[in-house]
Protein backbone atom coordinates (compact mmCIF):
# COMPACT_ATOMS: atom_id res chain seq x y z
CA UNK A 1 0.00 0.00 0.00
CA UNK A 2 2.71 2.41 0.97
CA UNK A 3 4.52 1.90 -2.28
CA UNK A 4 1.45 1.96 -4.45
CA UNK A 5 0.27 5.41 -3.41
CA UNK A 6 3.66 7.08 -3.45
CA UNK A 7 3.44 10.52 -5.04
CA UNK A 8 5.18 11.38 -8.26
CA UNK A 9 6.67 14.57 -6.87
CA UNK A 10 7.99 14.86 -3.34
CA UNK A 11 5.77 16.16 -0.54
CA UNK A 12 8.53 18.27 0.97
CA UNK A 13 11.65 19.66 -0.66
CA UNK A 14 14.31 21.33 1.44
CA UNK A 15 17.08 22.97 -0.49
CA UNK A 16 20.24 24.65 0.80
CA UNK A 17 18.51 25.35 4.11
CA UNK A 18 20.74 27.44 6.36
CA UNK A 19 20.30 28.98 9.79
CA UNK A 20 22.88 31.27 11.27
CA UNK A 21 22.63 32.51 14.88
CA UNK A 22 25.12 35.38 14.86
CA UNK A 23 28.47 33.57 14.51
CA UNK A 24 27.10 30.06 14.82
CA UNK A 25 25.92 28.21 11.73
CA UNK A 26 23.35 25.87 13.26
CA UNK A 27 22.12 24.47 9.97
CA UNK A 28 24.44 24.59 6.98
CA UNK A 29 22.99 24.18 3.48
CA UNK A 30 20.94 21.12 4.24
CA UNK A 31 19.17 19.61 1.24
CA UNK A 32 16.80 16.66 1.28
CA UNK A 33 13.39 15.67 0.05
CA UNK A 34 10.59 13.75 1.66
CA UNK A 35 8.58 11.58 -0.69
CA UNK A 36 4.83 11.33 -0.33
CA UNK A 37 3.36 8.66 1.91
CA UNK A 38 6.70 7.76 3.49
CA UNK A 39 8.24 8.05 6.92
CA UNK A 40 11.44 10.04 6.64
CA UNK A 41 13.88 10.13 9.54
CA UNK A 42 16.06 13.11 10.38
CA UNK A 43 18.71 11.96 12.82
CA UNK A 44 21.98 13.16 14.22
CA UNK A 45 23.74 13.66 17.54
CA UNK A 46 22.51 16.23 20.05
CA UNK A 47 22.93 19.77 18.80
CA UNK A 48 23.16 18.66 15.17
CA UNK A 49 20.43 21.14 14.17
CA UNK A 50 17.46 18.81 13.74
CA UNK A 51 14.98 20.88 15.74
CA UNK A 52 16.23 24.03 14.01
CA UNK A 53 15.37 22.40 10.67
CA UNK A 54 11.88 21.66 12.04
CA UNK A 55 11.51 25.22 13.26
CA UNK A 56 12.38 26.56 9.82
CA UNK A 57 10.03 24.17 8.00
CA UNK A 58 7.13 25.06 10.30
CA UNK A 59 7.96 28.77 10.15
CA UNK A 60 8.68 29.15 13.86
CA UNK A 61 12.17 30.42 12.92
CA UNK A 62 13.00 32.30 9.72
CA UNK A 63 15.64 30.62 7.58
CA UNK A 64 18.86 32.53 6.84
CA UNK A 65 19.04 31.00 3.37
CA UNK A 66 17.58 28.18 1.33
CA UNK A 67 14.12 27.20 0.27
CA UNK A 68 11.33 24.93 1.46
CA UNK A 69 8.61 23.64 -0.86
CA UNK A 70 5.46 21.74 0.05
CA UNK A 71 4.05 19.85 -2.96
CA UNK A 72 6.12 22.14 -5.20
CA UNK A 73 4.71 25.31 -3.60
CA UNK A 74 7.29 27.52 -1.86
CA UNK A 75 6.63 28.13 1.84
CA UNK A 76 9.50 30.51 2.47
CA UNK A 77 7.56 33.77 2.69
CA UNK A 78 4.66 32.34 4.65
CA UNK A 79 4.07 32.81 8.38
CA UNK A 80 3.54 29.76 10.61
CA UNK A 81 -0.25 29.79 10.50
CA UNK A 82 -0.31 29.92 6.70
CA UNK A 83 1.99 26.90 6.56
CA UNK A 84 -0.40 25.08 8.88
CA UNK A 85 -3.24 25.91 6.52
CA UNK A 86 -1.19 24.59 3.57
CA UNK A 87 -0.67 21.30 5.37
CA UNK A 88 2.38 21.43 7.63
CA UNK A 89 1.72 20.14 11.16
CA UNK A 90 4.21 19.47 13.91
CA UNK A 91 4.79 18.35 17.46
CA UNK A 92 7.39 19.75 19.82
CA UNK A 93 10.39 18.18 21.46
CA UNK A 94 9.56 19.86 24.76
CA UNK A 95 5.80 19.19 24.60
CA UNK A 96 3.82 22.39 24.13
CA UNK A 97 0.40 21.40 25.32
CA UNK A 98 -2.29 23.91 26.21
CA UNK A 99 -2.13 22.55 29.75
CA UNK A 100 -5.21 24.26 31.20
CA UNK A 101 -7.43 23.13 28.35
CA UNK A 102 -9.10 19.76 28.33
CA UNK A 103 -7.69 17.05 26.11
CA UNK A 104 -10.45 17.40 23.52
CA UNK A 105 -10.19 21.20 23.52
CA UNK A 106 -6.53 20.84 22.64
CA UNK A 107 -7.44 18.74 19.61
CA UNK A 108 -10.22 21.11 18.53
CA UNK A 109 -7.77 24.01 18.86
CA UNK A 110 -5.60 22.09 16.40
CA UNK A 111 -8.46 22.44 13.91
CA UNK A 112 -8.33 26.24 14.06
CA UNK A 113 -7.32 26.68 10.44
CA UNK A 114 -10.05 24.29 9.24
CA UNK A 115 -12.94 25.94 11.11
CA UNK A 116 -14.65 28.82 9.36
CA UNK A 117 -17.04 30.45 11.83
CA UNK A 118 -16.58 34.20 12.05
CA UNK A 119 -17.41 36.59 14.86
CA UNK A 120 -20.86 37.34 13.44
CA UNK A 121 -22.04 33.76 13.17
CA UNK A 122 -20.61 33.02 16.63
CA UNK A 123 -22.38 35.97 18.28
CA UNK A 124 -25.79 35.10 16.88
CA UNK A 125 -25.12 31.38 17.41
CA UNK A 126 -26.03 30.66 13.83
CA UNK A 127 -26.91 27.09 12.87
CA UNK A 128 -23.78 26.77 10.75
CA UNK A 129 -21.60 27.66 13.70
CA UNK A 130 -23.20 25.10 16.00
CA UNK A 131 -23.07 22.45 13.29
CA UNK A 132 -19.40 23.13 12.69
CA UNK A 133 -18.62 22.93 16.39
CA UNK A 134 -20.50 19.65 16.79
CA UNK A 135 -18.69 18.18 13.80
CA UNK A 136 -15.37 19.44 15.10
CA UNK A 137 -15.96 17.72 18.41
CA UNK A 138 -16.83 14.45 16.67
CA UNK A 139 -13.71 14.68 14.51
CA UNK A 140 -11.59 15.47 17.55
CA UNK A 141 -12.94 12.34 19.27
CA UNK A 142 -11.94 10.32 16.22
CA UNK A 143 -8.38 11.64 16.41
CA UNK A 144 -8.27 10.87 20.12
CA UNK A 145 -9.53 7.35 19.50
CA UNK A 146 -6.84 6.94 16.86
CA UNK A 147 -4.07 7.66 19.37
CA UNK A 148 -5.91 5.78 22.13
CA UNK A 149 -6.89 8.72 24.30
CA UNK A 150 -10.67 8.71 23.86
CA UNK A 151 -11.16 7.89 27.55
CA UNK A 152 -9.18 10.97 28.56
CA UNK A 153 -11.12 13.45 26.36
CA UNK A 154 -12.43 15.56 29.23
CA UNK A 155 -9.36 15.50 31.44
CA UNK A 156 -7.11 18.51 31.86
CA UNK A 157 -4.31 18.14 29.31
CA UNK A 158 -1.65 19.22 31.80
CA UNK A 159 -2.59 16.31 34.07
CA UNK A 160 -1.83 13.61 31.50
CA UNK A 161 1.25 11.43 31.80
CA UNK A 162 4.24 12.37 29.66
CA UNK A 163 3.60 9.60 27.16
CA UNK A 164 -0.09 10.51 26.89
CA UNK A 165 0.81 14.17 26.31
CA UNK A 166 3.05 13.08 23.44
CA UNK A 167 0.19 11.15 21.88
CA UNK A 168 -2.16 14.08 22.45
CA UNK A 169 0.29 16.31 20.56
CA UNK A 170 0.08 13.86 17.66
CA UNK A 171 -3.73 13.93 17.75
CA UNK A 172 -3.65 17.73 17.85
CA UNK A 173 -1.31 17.83 14.86
CA UNK A 174 -3.56 15.44 12.93
CA UNK A 175 -6.55 17.67 13.61
CA UNK A 176 -5.29 20.30 11.16
CA UNK A 177 -5.65 17.74 8.33
CA UNK A 178 -2.00 18.02 7.36
CA UNK A 179 -0.15 16.78 4.31
CA UNK A 180 3.03 16.29 6.31
CA UNK A 181 3.53 15.89 10.05
CA UNK A 182 6.85 16.82 11.64
CA UNK A 183 7.35 14.75 14.77
CA UNK A 184 10.06 16.07 17.08
CA UNK A 185 11.20 13.18 19.28
CA UNK A 186 7.78 11.58 19.70
CA UNK A 187 9.17 8.81 21.90
CA UNK A 188 11.20 11.03 24.24
CA UNK A 189 10.14 10.42 27.82
CA UNK A 190 8.03 7.41 26.90
CA UNK A 191 8.58 4.13 28.67
CA UNK A 192 9.60 1.10 26.53
CA UNK A 193 6.01 -0.19 26.32
CA UNK A 194 4.73 3.20 25.14
CA UNK A 195 7.52 3.50 22.59
CA UNK A 196 6.73 0.02 21.36
CA UNK A 197 3.08 0.97 20.89
CA UNK A 198 4.05 4.16 19.08
CA UNK A 199 5.59 2.33 16.13
CA UNK A 200 2.39 0.72 14.78
CA UNK A 201 0.52 3.99 15.44
CA UNK A 202 2.90 5.94 13.21
CA UNK A 203 2.85 3.15 10.62
CA UNK A 204 -0.94 3.44 10.47
CA UNK A 205 -0.61 7.16 9.81
CA UNK A 206 1.41 6.33 6.73
CA UNK A 207 -0.38 3.20 5.57
CA UNK A 208 -4.02 3.84 6.50
CA UNK A 209 -4.18 7.61 6.33
CA UNK A 210 -1.71 8.13 3.51
CA UNK A 211 0.22 10.72 5.51
CA UNK A 212 3.83 11.74 5.12
CA UNK A 213 5.93 11.91 8.27
CA UNK A 214 9.23 13.61 8.94
CA UNK A 215 10.55 12.40 12.24
CA UNK A 216 13.39 13.42 14.55
CA UNK A 217 14.09 10.69 17.07
CA UNK A 218 16.93 9.36 19.17
CA UNK A 219 15.42 5.93 19.75
CA UNK A 220 17.28 4.02 17.05
CA UNK A 221 15.06 0.97 17.24
CA UNK A 222 12.08 3.17 16.40
CA UNK A 223 13.91 5.01 13.65
CA UNK A 224 15.32 1.92 11.99
CA UNK A 225 12.09 -0.08 12.09
CA UNK A 226 9.85 2.77 10.98
CA UNK A 227 11.65 4.95 8.47
CA UNK A 228 11.61 4.44 4.72
CA UNK A 229 14.49 6.85 4.32
CA UNK A 230 16.83 8.63 6.70
CA UNK A 231 18.81 11.85 6.45
CA UNK A 232 21.67 12.21 8.91
CA UNK A 233 23.01 15.59 9.95
CA UNK A 234 25.88 16.52 12.22
CA UNK A 235 27.08 20.00 13.17
CA UNK A 236 24.38 21.39 10.89
CA UNK A 237 25.58 19.58 7.78
CA UNK A 238 24.07 16.62 6.01
CA UNK A 239 26.50 13.72 6.27
CA UNK A 240 24.49 10.82 4.91
CA UNK A 241 21.19 9.78 3.44
CA UNK A 242 19.60 6.50 2.44
CA UNK A 243 17.57 3.58 3.63
CA UNK A 244 17.96 2.52 7.27
CA UNK A 245 20.28 -0.26 6.13
CA UNK A 246 22.50 2.09 4.11
CA UNK A 247 22.65 4.73 6.83
CA UNK A 248 23.50 2.21 9.52
CA UNK A 249 26.54 1.08 7.54
CA UNK A 250 27.65 4.56 6.55
CA UNK A 251 31.12 5.34 7.94
CA UNK A 252 30.36 9.04 8.48
CA UNK A 253 27.30 8.13 10.53
CA UNK A 254 29.18 5.69 12.67
CA UNK A 255 31.87 8.27 13.20
CA UNK A 256 29.37 10.95 14.09
CA UNK A 257 27.79 8.81 16.75
CA UNK A 258 30.90 7.17 18.14
CA UNK A 259 33.55 9.77 17.48
CA UNK A 260 35.94 7.42 15.67
CA UNK A 261 35.89 4.92 12.88
CA UNK A 262 35.01 1.37 13.71
CA UNK A 263 37.10 -1.32 12.08
CA UNK A 264 34.33 -3.84 11.85
CA UNK A 265 31.84 -2.07 9.62
CA UNK A 266 29.29 -4.82 10.03
CA UNK A 267 29.00 -4.05 13.71
CA UNK A 268 25.65 -2.32 14.02
CA UNK A 269 25.18 -2.78 17.71
CA UNK A 270 26.63 0.57 18.84
CA UNK A 271 24.40 2.56 16.53
CA UNK A 272 21.25 0.75 17.45
CA UNK A 273 21.90 1.36 21.14
CA UNK A 274 22.38 5.09 20.85
CA UNK A 275 19.77 7.05 22.73
CA UNK A 276 19.42 10.65 23.76
Amino acid sequence: MANMTRDAHPTLEVEGLTKQFRGLVAVDEVTFQVNGNTVHGLIGPNGAGKTTVFNMISGVLPATAGSIRLLSEPLDELPTWERTKRGVARTFQNIRMFGDMSVIENVITGMHSRLKSNLGSILIRQGNFRKEETEAEAMAREQLAFVGLEQAADRRAGDLSYGDQRRLEIARALASQPKIVLLDEPAAGMNPAETHALIPLLQRLRDDRGLTLLIVEHDMHLVMSLCDRITVINFGKKIAEGTPGEVREHPAVIEAYLGHKVDDKKSTAPVSKVTS
Binding site: W81, D100, H112, L123, T134
Partner: protein, 279 residues
Protein backbone atom coordinates in the same frame (compact mmCIF):
# COMPACT_ATOMS: atom_id res chain seq x y z
CA UNK B 1 -41.60 49.58 48.48
CA UNK B 2 -40.95 51.55 45.31
CA UNK B 3 -40.04 54.55 47.39
CA UNK B 4 -37.39 52.69 49.34
CA UNK B 5 -35.92 51.33 46.12
CA UNK B 6 -35.65 54.77 44.63
CA UNK B 7 -34.23 56.06 47.90
CA UNK B 8 -31.51 53.48 47.74
CA UNK B 9 -30.92 54.30 44.10
CA UNK B 10 -30.55 58.02 44.70
CA UNK B 11 -28.30 57.53 47.69
CA UNK B 12 -26.02 55.04 46.02
CA UNK B 13 -26.39 55.87 42.36
CA UNK B 14 -22.68 56.56 41.94
CA UNK B 15 -21.87 53.08 43.14
CA UNK B 16 -24.67 51.46 41.14
CA UNK B 17 -23.42 53.20 38.00
CA UNK B 18 -19.82 52.51 38.94
CA UNK B 19 -20.33 48.76 39.21
CA UNK B 20 -21.66 48.57 35.65
CA UNK B 21 -19.09 50.97 34.17
CA UNK B 22 -16.25 49.17 35.91
CA UNK B 23 -17.73 45.83 34.87
CA UNK B 24 -17.47 46.90 31.24
CA UNK B 25 -13.90 48.08 31.91
CA UNK B 26 -13.22 44.68 33.46
CA UNK B 27 -14.35 43.03 30.24
CA UNK B 28 -12.17 45.44 28.30
CA UNK B 29 -9.05 44.46 30.24
CA UNK B 30 -10.09 40.79 30.03
CA UNK B 31 -9.90 40.82 26.22
CA UNK B 32 -6.22 41.72 26.27
CA UNK B 33 -5.25 39.65 29.31
CA UNK B 34 -6.94 36.57 27.89
CA UNK B 35 -4.44 36.45 25.02
CA UNK B 36 -1.58 36.78 27.48
CA UNK B 37 -0.72 40.47 27.03
CA UNK B 38 -0.21 42.78 29.97
CA UNK B 39 -2.85 45.46 29.57
CA UNK B 40 -2.53 48.99 30.91
CA UNK B 41 -4.09 51.10 28.16
CA UNK B 42 -7.72 50.85 29.21
CA UNK B 43 -7.78 54.11 31.17
CA UNK B 44 -6.44 56.05 28.17
CA UNK B 45 -8.99 54.48 25.82
CA UNK B 46 -11.72 55.16 28.38
CA UNK B 47 -10.65 58.81 28.52
CA UNK B 48 -10.66 59.12 24.75
CA UNK B 49 -14.15 57.61 24.59
CA UNK B 50 -15.39 59.81 27.42
CA UNK B 51 -14.00 63.03 25.95
CA UNK B 52 -15.08 62.47 22.36
CA UNK B 53 -18.48 61.13 23.40
CA UNK B 54 -19.06 64.07 25.75
CA UNK B 55 -17.91 66.60 23.17
CA UNK B 56 -20.34 65.08 20.68
CA UNK B 57 -23.35 65.64 22.94
CA UNK B 58 -22.27 68.69 24.95
CA UNK B 59 -20.47 70.79 22.38
CA UNK B 60 -21.87 69.56 19.09
CA UNK B 61 -25.38 68.72 20.23
CA UNK B 62 -25.31 65.35 18.50
CA UNK B 63 -27.74 62.64 19.55
CA UNK B 64 -26.57 60.17 22.19
CA UNK B 65 -26.41 57.10 19.90
CA UNK B 66 -24.01 59.02 17.64
CA UNK B 67 -21.94 59.95 20.68
CA UNK B 68 -21.75 56.27 21.64
CA UNK B 69 -20.62 55.41 18.15
CA UNK B 70 -17.96 58.13 18.28
CA UNK B 71 -16.80 56.94 21.69
CA UNK B 72 -16.31 53.43 20.32
CA UNK B 73 -14.69 54.35 17.01
CA UNK B 74 -12.18 56.98 18.20
CA UNK B 75 -10.35 54.73 20.68
CA UNK B 76 -10.56 51.91 18.13
CA UNK B 77 -8.78 54.10 15.59
CA UNK B 78 -6.13 55.08 18.15
CA UNK B 79 -5.65 51.42 19.15
CA UNK B 80 -5.33 50.45 15.50
CA UNK B 81 -2.76 53.17 14.85
CA UNK B 82 -0.56 52.37 17.84
CA UNK B 83 -1.25 48.63 17.64
CA UNK B 84 0.61 48.11 14.40
CA UNK B 85 4.02 49.37 15.60
CA UNK B 86 3.68 48.07 19.18
CA UNK B 87 2.43 44.59 18.28
CA UNK B 88 5.93 43.21 18.44
CA UNK B 89 6.18 44.31 22.03
CA UNK B 90 5.12 41.93 24.74
CA UNK B 91 4.88 41.87 28.51
CA UNK B 92 6.31 44.81 30.37
CA UNK B 93 7.35 46.64 27.21
CA UNK B 94 3.82 46.70 25.84
CA UNK B 95 2.59 47.82 29.25
CA UNK B 96 5.09 50.70 29.31
CA UNK B 97 4.10 51.83 25.82
CA UNK B 98 0.46 51.80 26.92
CA UNK B 99 1.31 53.85 30.00
CA UNK B 100 2.99 56.29 27.62
CA UNK B 101 -0.21 56.52 25.63
CA UNK B 102 -2.10 57.20 28.87
CA UNK B 103 0.22 60.03 29.83
CA UNK B 104 0.13 61.56 26.34
CA UNK B 105 -3.67 61.54 26.22
CA UNK B 106 -3.88 62.96 29.75
CA UNK B 107 -1.62 65.87 28.75
CA UNK B 108 -3.58 66.43 25.55
CA UNK B 109 -6.89 66.65 27.44
CA UNK B 110 -5.28 68.87 30.09
CA UNK B 111 -4.20 71.38 27.47
CA UNK B 112 -7.18 71.15 25.17
CA UNK B 113 -8.99 74.43 25.86
CA UNK B 114 -11.98 73.49 23.73
CA UNK B 115 -12.60 70.48 26.00
CA UNK B 116 -12.28 72.56 29.16
CA UNK B 117 -8.56 72.15 29.76
CA UNK B 118 -7.65 71.52 33.39
CA UNK B 119 -11.22 72.29 34.48
CA UNK B 120 -12.60 69.39 32.47
CA UNK B 121 -15.93 69.19 30.76
CA UNK B 122 -19.02 69.87 32.82
CA UNK B 123 -22.70 70.06 32.07
CA UNK B 124 -22.69 66.81 30.14
CA UNK B 125 -26.34 65.86 29.58
CA UNK B 126 -27.65 62.80 31.43
CA UNK B 127 -28.21 60.06 28.92
CA UNK B 128 -28.58 56.33 29.01
CA UNK B 129 -28.79 55.84 32.74
CA UNK B 130 -28.77 52.78 34.88
CA UNK B 131 -30.86 50.55 32.62
CA UNK B 132 -28.70 51.10 29.55
CA UNK B 133 -25.56 50.54 31.62
CA UNK B 134 -26.68 47.17 32.91
CA UNK B 135 -28.21 46.19 29.58
CA UNK B 136 -24.86 46.81 27.85
CA UNK B 137 -23.00 44.93 30.58
CA UNK B 138 -25.27 41.87 30.36
CA UNK B 139 -25.24 41.78 26.56
CA UNK B 140 -21.44 42.00 26.62
CA UNK B 141 -21.10 39.21 29.18
CA UNK B 142 -23.27 36.97 27.01
CA UNK B 143 -21.27 37.86 23.92
CA UNK B 144 -18.05 37.08 25.75
CA UNK B 145 -19.33 33.63 26.72
CA UNK B 146 -20.44 32.92 23.15
CA UNK B 147 -17.11 33.98 21.70
CA UNK B 148 -15.20 32.23 24.47
CA UNK B 149 -16.74 28.91 23.48
CA UNK B 150 -15.78 29.15 19.84
CA UNK B 151 -12.67 28.85 17.73
CA UNK B 152 -11.88 32.46 18.61
CA UNK B 153 -12.01 31.77 22.35
CA UNK B 154 -9.86 28.67 21.95
CA UNK B 155 -7.34 30.56 19.83
CA UNK B 156 -7.14 33.27 22.48
CA UNK B 157 -6.54 30.82 25.31
CA UNK B 158 -3.99 28.99 23.17
CA UNK B 159 -2.12 32.27 22.68
CA UNK B 160 -2.14 32.91 26.40
CA UNK B 161 -0.67 29.49 27.11
CA UNK B 162 1.88 29.31 24.30
CA UNK B 163 2.10 31.80 21.47
CA UNK B 164 4.40 29.63 19.35
CA UNK B 165 2.18 26.59 19.66
CA UNK B 166 -0.88 28.73 18.89
CA UNK B 167 0.79 29.88 15.66
CA UNK B 168 1.51 26.27 14.75
CA UNK B 169 -2.18 25.47 15.32
CA UNK B 170 -2.94 27.97 12.57
CA UNK B 171 -3.77 31.00 14.73
CA UNK B 172 -2.84 34.28 13.04
CA UNK B 173 -1.16 35.61 16.18
CA UNK B 174 -0.48 39.26 15.17
CA UNK B 175 -4.00 39.65 13.82
CA UNK B 176 -5.50 38.37 17.06
CA UNK B 177 -3.27 40.70 19.07
CA UNK B 178 -4.34 43.73 17.06
CA UNK B 179 -8.01 42.72 17.13
CA UNK B 180 -7.89 42.18 20.90
CA UNK B 181 -6.34 45.60 21.43
CA UNK B 182 -8.92 47.29 19.20
CA UNK B 183 -11.91 45.51 20.80
CA UNK B 184 -10.54 46.27 24.24
CA UNK B 185 -10.22 49.96 23.30
CA UNK B 186 -13.78 50.01 21.95
CA UNK B 187 -15.18 48.61 25.20
CA UNK B 188 -13.16 51.02 27.32
CA UNK B 189 -14.30 53.93 25.16
CA UNK B 190 -17.91 52.81 25.49
CA UNK B 191 -17.55 52.60 29.28
CA UNK B 192 -16.03 56.08 29.30
CA UNK B 193 -18.87 57.58 27.29
CA UNK B 194 -21.61 55.84 29.30
CA UNK B 195 -19.93 56.95 32.51
CA UNK B 196 -19.56 60.56 31.36
CA UNK B 197 -23.28 60.71 30.58
CA UNK B 198 -24.35 59.58 34.03
CA UNK B 199 -21.87 61.68 36.02
CA UNK B 200 -22.26 64.94 34.04
CA UNK B 201 -18.58 65.85 34.55
CA UNK B 202 -15.24 64.54 33.29
CA UNK B 203 -11.73 65.81 33.99
CA UNK B 204 -8.33 65.13 32.44
CA UNK B 205 -6.93 63.46 35.55
CA UNK B 206 -9.59 60.78 35.84
CA UNK B 207 -7.97 58.56 33.23
CA UNK B 208 -4.38 58.46 34.38
CA UNK B 209 -2.05 55.86 35.85
CA UNK B 210 -4.21 55.26 38.91
CA UNK B 211 -7.23 54.37 36.81
CA UNK B 212 -5.07 52.14 34.61
CA UNK B 213 -3.91 50.08 37.57
CA UNK B 214 -7.38 50.05 39.13
CA UNK B 215 -8.81 48.51 35.95
CA UNK B 216 -6.02 45.92 35.88
CA UNK B 217 -6.77 45.04 39.51
CA UNK B 218 -10.39 44.15 38.56
CA UNK B 219 -8.98 41.23 36.62
CA UNK B 220 -6.29 40.43 39.18
CA UNK B 221 -8.87 40.10 41.91
CA UNK B 222 -11.62 38.43 39.92
CA UNK B 223 -9.44 36.15 37.81
CA UNK B 224 -9.52 35.58 34.07
CA UNK B 225 -10.77 31.99 33.94
CA UNK B 226 -14.10 33.32 32.70
CA UNK B 227 -15.28 36.77 31.56
CA UNK B 228 -17.26 36.98 34.81
CA UNK B 229 -14.06 37.15 36.87
CA UNK B 230 -13.11 40.76 36.05
CA UNK B 231 -16.78 41.82 36.30
CA UNK B 232 -17.03 40.38 39.82
CA UNK B 233 -13.63 41.87 40.65
CA UNK B 234 -14.86 45.26 39.46
CA UNK B 235 -18.04 45.00 41.54
CA UNK B 236 -16.10 44.14 44.69
CA UNK B 237 -13.49 46.85 44.21
CA UNK B 238 -16.24 49.39 43.56
CA UNK B 239 -18.21 48.37 46.62
CA UNK B 240 -15.32 47.82 48.99
CA UNK B 241 -14.42 51.46 49.71
CA UNK B 242 -18.10 52.10 50.45
CA UNK B 243 -18.51 49.05 52.68
CA UNK B 244 -15.34 49.97 54.55
CA UNK B 245 -16.47 53.55 55.11
CA UNK B 246 -16.94 52.85 58.84
CA UNK B 247 -13.15 52.38 59.10
CA UNK B 248 -12.74 56.08 58.38
CA UNK B 249 -9.02 56.89 58.13
CA UNK B 250 -7.99 53.24 57.86
CA UNK B 251 -10.27 52.64 54.90
CA UNK B 252 -7.73 52.85 52.09
CA UNK B 253 -5.21 50.85 54.06
CA UNK B 254 -7.61 47.97 54.69
CA UNK B 255 -8.85 48.24 51.11
CA UNK B 256 -5.31 47.78 49.84
CA UNK B 257 -4.59 44.97 52.31
CA UNK B 258 -7.66 43.03 51.16
CA UNK B 259 -6.49 43.24 47.53
CA UNK B 260 -2.95 42.15 48.40
CA UNK B 261 -4.19 39.21 50.47
CA UNK B 262 -6.65 38.15 47.79
CA UNK B 263 -3.96 38.18 45.10
CA UNK B 264 -1.47 36.35 47.33
CA UNK B 265 -3.81 33.57 48.37
CA UNK B 266 -5.88 33.33 45.21
CA UNK B 267 -3.40 33.83 42.38
CA UNK B 268 -6.03 32.73 39.89
CA UNK B 269 -8.55 35.19 41.25
CA UNK B 270 -11.79 34.79 43.15
CA UNK B 271 -13.47 32.96 40.29
CA UNK B 272 -10.84 30.38 39.60
CA UNK B 273 -12.98 28.06 37.50
CA UNK B 274 -12.24 27.99 33.83
CA UNK B 275 -14.93 28.11 31.18
CA UNK B 276 -15.39 25.19 28.82
CA UNK B 277 -14.31 25.91 25.28
CA UNK B 278 -16.75 23.67 23.48
CA UNK B 279 -20.36 24.38 22.55
Amino acid sequence: MLDSFSDIYWTYQNIIHGIAVNGILGLSVYVVLSIGQLALGQAAFMGIGAYFGAIATTKLGLPFPIALLVSVLTPAAVAFAIGAPTLRLTGVYLAISMLGLGEISRLLFLNWEYAGGALGLSGIPERGGVFLLYFVLIVLILAFFFVGRSRIGRAMEAMREDETAAGVMGVNVPRYKLAALVVSAMLAGLAGCLSAHVSSFIGPNEYGFEMATTILSFALLGGIGTPLGPVVGAAILTLLPEVLRFLADYRLMINGAIIVIAVLFMPRGLLSWRMKRTV
